[in-house]
């Protein structure tokens, strides 16, 4: 047990019309409960694929993958993780609260309990006033908050995030990062966070996993030695800059 994700020599090959594409080769990765791990790398390095393998939205071609002590499929069926995408992916035909209620509804949680929990979650992401808003009436950042509230509605031990702030403007993005760190500390959730942005990965993570492409593989795993809680000062910390440089060099292959 112990670790929440354990991957040993995991590979994923996609068969396409033009032949086989090796998306991931021999991934070894363990993540402990409470970690905030970013996966960073160039396009096509398989970071989103790795996230989907953990979530059992894709199946490994080879290797051994254990999530929360179970097979990924079992872990998915047990609702061990919540997921958020770059696009907020709110269902337009549901209000904000109905979107947050979706996973609870699928678990057959009773109506009153569902409402109460979803309200609590929306308050946590500071959208208490927008409970009955329609998704299209919310700004991009607000939509993404609703998506996070939905991902955490079932109190999963693991949160998978696929470039969730990628479509937001820089200002919103920084405040969302701050918000996410607060939620991470408050909820004891382990987070796996896919991103393209080096500062984002360094600011958020306890560990940055650097990947390379063709074939997709892990080239480095670097702990981030910055104290918590992190805030505006963190971004001006000297160690923040040295870590940025280290990650950048790892990405370049030194």
């Amino acid at each position: 047990m112990g670790e929440i994700v354990a991957a040993r020599r995991v590979s994923k090959v996609f068969k396409t019309g033009k032949g086989a594409v090796e998306a991931l080769r021999d991934i070894d990765l363990t993540i402990d409960p409470g970690e905030f791990v970013s996966l960073i790398g160039p396009s096509g390095c398989g970071k989103s694929t790795l996230l989907r393998l953990v979530g059992d939205l894709l199946t490994p071609t080879a290797g051994e993958l254990v999530v929360n002590g179970k097979t990924p499929a079992q872990s998915r069926l047990d609702h061990d993780y919540g997921i958020a995408f770059q696009k907020a992916t709110l269902l337009d035909w549901r209000t904000a609260i109905e979107n947050v209620e979706l996973p609870l509804e699928l678990m057959n949680v009773g109506r009153d309990q569902r409402r109460a929990r979803a309200t609590e979650m929306l308050e946590m992401v500071e959208l208490g006033e927008f409970v009955n808003a329609n998704p299209w009436q919310l700004s991009g950042g607000m939509q993404q908050r609703v998506a996070i509230a939905r991902a955490l509605a079932l109190r999963p031990p693991l949160l998978l995030m696929d470039e969730p702030f990628g479509a937001l403007d820089e200002m919103t993005r920084e405040s969302m990062q701050q918000e996410l760190l607060r939620i991470w500390r408050e909820t004891d959730t382990t987070i796996i966070f896919v991103t393209h942005s080096i500062p984002e990965a360094v600011f958020l993570s306890t560990r940055v996993v650097v990947m390379a492409s063709r074939p997709g593989r892990i080239v480095d795993s670097m702990p981030v030695d910055l104290s918590h809680p992190r805030g505006v000062d963190t971004r001006e910390d000297e160690r923040f800059y040295t870590t940025l440089t280290e990650v950048r060099e790892a990405l370049r292959g030194r």
Binding site: R76, F85, K87, T89, W93, L106, N134, Q137
Partner: protein, 273 residues
């Protein structure tokens, strides 16, 4: 639920719009009818070419009971075929969207049949169901309606967003649950575009089928009979009734669309983003 949403997002635009926005169209209509009347009188256009609106309107009033009763019978044929074709189209769409093999086999043929002038089968359905049986006309309408509804609804069911499907899968949602919560709502806009196409088609199908013979008290027969007797204003009055019926049916579809999918971009009443 719908009412709740309406109050949550008050209709800002319709409030200021209303009568003011209809004014240009009303002026255009009056101008057009006036111009038409003037042209017929000044240029002494023969009635078989184009009767004056005043003559059409006179017959529209004088023969109202006969025309409207014919219109009602035609409407029943159109609506009967519309309902049958729509239900059939939806049911087949579910099957076709569910099984890819069925889809690959059926869709090319559906598209091909859809490109055919289906009204042409009217003599065949008349032979099948009988000249006096309204089902002959309903069958033509149903066939005309079936294909656009089936093709569009299938596309709609398959149009669900990839992330939305992944999200549902991440929750271990059943196929039925995904259908109900994601695929069917995603298909709504496609279904309503199909309805907007087939509602006018249903009246065309009914009236044109009536041209092939059958009971005399329907719009198609009324128009052919009056035209043969050179009573052109009567024929035009019947077309006016057909137009009113068509617009009425179309308006009902627009209303249904607002009620069923107030969330869609095409009908949203507020947009704060």
């Amino acid at each position: 639920m719908v009412g709740e949403r309406m109050t949550a997002s008050p209709d800002h635009r319709a409030g200021t719009a209303g009568v003011g926005r209809l004014a240009p169209a009303a002026v255009a209509l009056i101008a057009l009818v006036g111009l038409w009347e003037a042209a017929v009188r000044l240029l002494q256009i023969e009635a078989f070419l184009l009767p004056a609106p005043s003559a059409v309107f006179t017959e529209f009033v004088a023969d109202a009971s006969v025309i409207w009763s014919a219109g009602f019978k035609t409407l029943i044929e159109a609506v009967g075929g519309l309902v049958a074709g729509t239900i059939g189209g939806i049911l087949v769409a579910f099957v076709v969207a569910r099984w890819e093999a069925v889809r690959l086999g059926a869709m090319p043929f559906a598209a091909a049949v859809n490109a055919m002038p289906i009204v042409a089968v009217a003599p065949i359905t008349i032979a099948l169901f009988g000249l006096t049986n309204p089902v002959s006309r309903m069958a033509v309408v149903a066939l005309m309606v079936f294909f656009p509804v089936m093709i569009n609804t299938t596309r709609g069911l398959l149009s669900a967003d990839a992330n939305e499907l992944e999200l549902m899968r991440s929750y271990g949602a059943s196929g039925w649950s995904i259908l109900r919560r994601v695929r069917i709502p995603s298909a709504h806009p496609y279904f309503f575009s199909a309805l907007k196409i087939v509602v006018p088609l249903s009246l065309i199908g009914a009236i044109v089928s009536e041209y092939f013979g059958g009971p005399q008290d329907v719009l198609g027969q009324y128009i052919t009979n009056r035209a043969q007797l050179f009573q052109f204003p009567d024929a035009w009055a019947a077309m006016l009734v057909a137009a009113i019926l068509g617009i009425g049916m179309y308006s009902l579809v627009l209303l249904a669309e607002r009620l069923v999918m107030p969330w869609h971009v095409s009908v949203r009443t507020s947009d704060q983003r």
